[in-house]
């Protein structure tokens, strides 16, 4: 009985589309809050790896620094929050 029920999910008109996969959510989140693109001391922008960005996020939020998109990290990304980036470039 613990298997999830196959519910029918509906597209609600006017709903902001949030049917993202966890990976898509992570990509958007890491970019939006400044974890992916980091300004080097030279002034150039560089894109860091997702794993590195995840570790940076996990450190910022006090989560275990696994560098992986684990459940705790996905859950943290779904929490209500301020829209100001955490890492300012």
């Amino acid at each position: 009985w613990c298997h999830p029920i196959k519910s029918v999910f509906v597209n609600f008109p006017g709903d902001v589309i949030k049917n993202m996969t966890d990976t898509e959510l992570a990509e958007t989140y890491l970019k939006r809050f400044g974890y992916m693109e980091v300004q080097e001391k030279s002034g150039l922008q560089s894109v860091v790896s997702t794993s590195k960005a995840l570790k940076r996020l996990q450190r910022q939020l006090g989560l275990e620094e696994t560098g992986a998109l684990d459940k705790a990290t996905v859950s943290a990304m779904k929490q209500p929050r301020c829209g100001v980036p955490d890492i300012r470039n």
């Binding site: 009985w1 613990c2 999830p4 029920i5 519910s7 029918v8 999910f9 509906v10 609600f12 008109p13 006017g14 709903d15 902001v16 949030k18 049917n19 809050f33 450190r59 910022q60 939020l61 006090g62 459940k71 859950s75 943290a76 929490q79 209500p80 929050r81 301020c82 829209g83 100001v84 955490d86 300012r88």
Partner: protein
């Protein structure tokens, strides 16, 4: 703490702010007050002063908006992003924007300030009694004019104190009508409207004309949201319509059916399948005060902190008794210095054994009084210990067809039949003498009728008057690190789900061992219930997840179909 690169800060201490518009969720005065208190958080610890401007350009311009609201950072509908603000500077710098697709409250459910009536603008008291029925929203019962009203004390029948709740029939805000109420029907672009509309606007705000013809008079205002109105969706401001049909099924309350995110919604017409009109059901909302205090931190020059208890931590967390964290204070004082003059903190009262002290509120740090050791002749229990006066119970469970509510060595019970009133209190020690005062969870095994009790890391099994235990919960196969079992759901033949933290395990009652494949994450199987439920139990085929004084009821198909008060719905207070 972090400051913005270059330590951006205001070059003057007399900072000005201006509230550009209001949210329909709360009365203007409540919003003004929330912002003023949010500024005071910072002025209490710095030399900064905040002066409100009513026109012109202020340092901090505050506005509510939805989605694309005029800057490069659109909001995202309900939940997710709540607000943002810019660091100090000219133009848009220093400004604070709040997402009006959120439900703005004081953080703990609808904050409804009344007008008129005889309560001098007091807040609604939810729930309140009217003609011996309990109401947790504004109502139109008892009136022929359709104006929603509420009691401003717990018992309208006794106190007769009431006021009118915000509605478009009472007033509008903003616009050009000085708060006049809507006039229905009104004409707009040749068409007649019988209710507030978003037609003619791109920002999603509901408005109405305050004369019968907008086309000629051009008089309008924005409609306040009723406390019963849905949030977001495509029917903002409309009430839920019960019953409603969704995918051919009839629903009489909000449901999470059809959604992957577990959020409760309802249709605003009687048939979603044909009309597709819907919105999210009102929840506790977000504290405008707390979010504003955070955003104003940005507007003064603080960036996000990685201290979880700091106000400047990026995630929202509701706290009832807010105070600034040391990290926030250090951050803002790094930029502006400390508040000059004497320590703004009032001296703490000293308590001695000879002077009377007020009863402290129970907190995690304050030990609760324990019941005295039961003497040979058990003293009778004070009948004035009313279950209805208890806010949170240690555990709730159904035993022999009666719902039992345990708290600090006492219990009350309600039977499924009869008058539905609760009986008690009774001493737990009289019926189950081996148990400690505080138990975390209990359940009756449906097959054997044995009753299992859990307290901290121990459990007891009662078979009539025979008792086994205490035994350690790790004997059942639960991890030795587990602090307590917080809930139990009997499932099928001899299986019981045990909850603790964010995990659950399945216990085979016959073998007294946890089944393989556990623990599992509670939120993956039970979506839409609070992750921090402190009690879970089965009652009349439904799963109940309790947090504080509320419960989330879930059907056996694991859809949340009701959220309510333990006190009123289960205890029949």
């Amino acid at each position: 703490y972090q400051t913005f690169q270059g330590d951006l800060k205001w070059d003057h201490n007399d900072v000005t702010y201006r509230i550009m518009n209001y949210s329909p969720d709360m009365e203007e005065s409540l919003i003004d007050d929330a912002f003023a208190r949010a500024f005071k958080v910072w002025s209490d610890v710095t030399p900064l002063t905040f002066t409100r401007l009513y026109d012109g350009t202020a340092d901090i311009m505050i506005s509510f908006g939805k989605q694309d609201h005029g800057d490069p950072y659109p909001f995202d509908g309900k939940d997710g992003l709540l607000a943002h603000a810019y660091p100090p500077g000219e133009g848009m710098q220093g400004d604070a924007h709040f997402d009006d697709d959120e439900y703005w409250t004081l953080g703990n459910g609808p904050a409804v300030k009344t007008r008129y009536g005889n309560a001098e603008g007091a807040m609604c008291h939810f729930p309140f009694l009217f003609e011996r029925r309990s109401y947790s929203t504004c109502i139109t019962e008892g009136r022929s004019d359709g104006l929603p009203w509420c009691g401003t004390t717990a018992d309208y029948d006794k106190d007769k104190k009431y006021g009118f709740c915000p509605s478009e029939l009472l007033f509008t805000f903003g616009g050009n009508s000085d708060g006049a109420q809507c006039v229905f029907p009104f004409t707009f672009l040749g068409k007649q409207y019988d209710s507030c509309t978003t037609e003619g606007r791109s920002d999603g705000y509901r408005w109405c004309a305050t004369t019968a013809n907008f086309d000629t008079d051009k008089k309008y205002g924005f409609c306040p949201n009723r406390d019963t109105a849905v949030i977001g969706g495509n029917s903002e401001g409309e009430p839920c319509q019960f019953p409603f049909i969704f995918l051919g099924k009839t629903y009489t309350s909000c449901t999470s059916e059809g959604r992957g995110d577990g959020k409760l919604w309802c249709a605003t017409t009687s048939n979603f399948d044909t009309d597709k009109k819907w919105g999210f059901c009102p929840d506790k909302g977000y504290s405008l005060f707390l979010v504003a205090a955070h955003e104003f931190g940005h507007a003064l020059g603080l960036d996000h902190s990685n201290i979880q208890d700091a106000l400047m931590f990026p995630m929202y967390k509701y706290v009832a008794d807010f105070s600034l964290n040391e990290d926030d204070i250090e951050g803002i004082q790094y930029l502006y210095g400390p508040k000059p003059g004497p320590d703004p903190k009032p001296p703490q009262p000293t308590t001695t054994t000879s002077s009377p002290v007020s009863t402290p509120k129970p907190t995690a740090q304050t030990p609760k009084p324990t019941a005295p050791i039961v003497p040979t002749t058990t003293p009778s229990v004070d009948p004035s210990m009313d279950a209805c006066k208890m806010d949170i119970f240690d555990t709730i469970t159904e035993i022999q067809g009666e719902l039992h509510f345990f708290k600090d060595g006492l219990y009350w019970k309600t039977s499924n039949g009869g008058d539905g009133k609760n009986k008690g209190p009774f001493r737990t020690s009289e019926r189950w003498p081996a148990l400690p005062n505080k138990i975390n969870t209990a359940f009756e095994d449906h097959l054997t009728k044995k009753i299992y009790f859990f307290a901290d890391t121990q459990f007891w099994v009662y078979n009539g008057q025979e008792v086994q235990g205490p035994r350690r919960i790790e004997k059942l196969g639960l991890p030795s690190t587990l602090q307590k079992v917080e809930g139990a759901l009997q499932r099928g033949k001899g299986k019981v789900i045990l909850f603790s933290g964010e995990n659950f395990w399945r216990l085979d009652v016959k073998t007294q061992q946890i089944d393989k494949g556990y623990p599992r994450f509670t939120d993956e199987t039970f979506g839409g219930v609070p992750g921090d439920s402190h009690d879970v139990f089965l009652y009349k085929g439904h799963f109940y997840f309790c947090r504080e004084k509320f419960y989330w009821r879930m059907t056996s198909r694991r859809q949340v179909d009701r959220v309510g008060y333990v006190k009123y719905d289960l205890l029949k207070c």
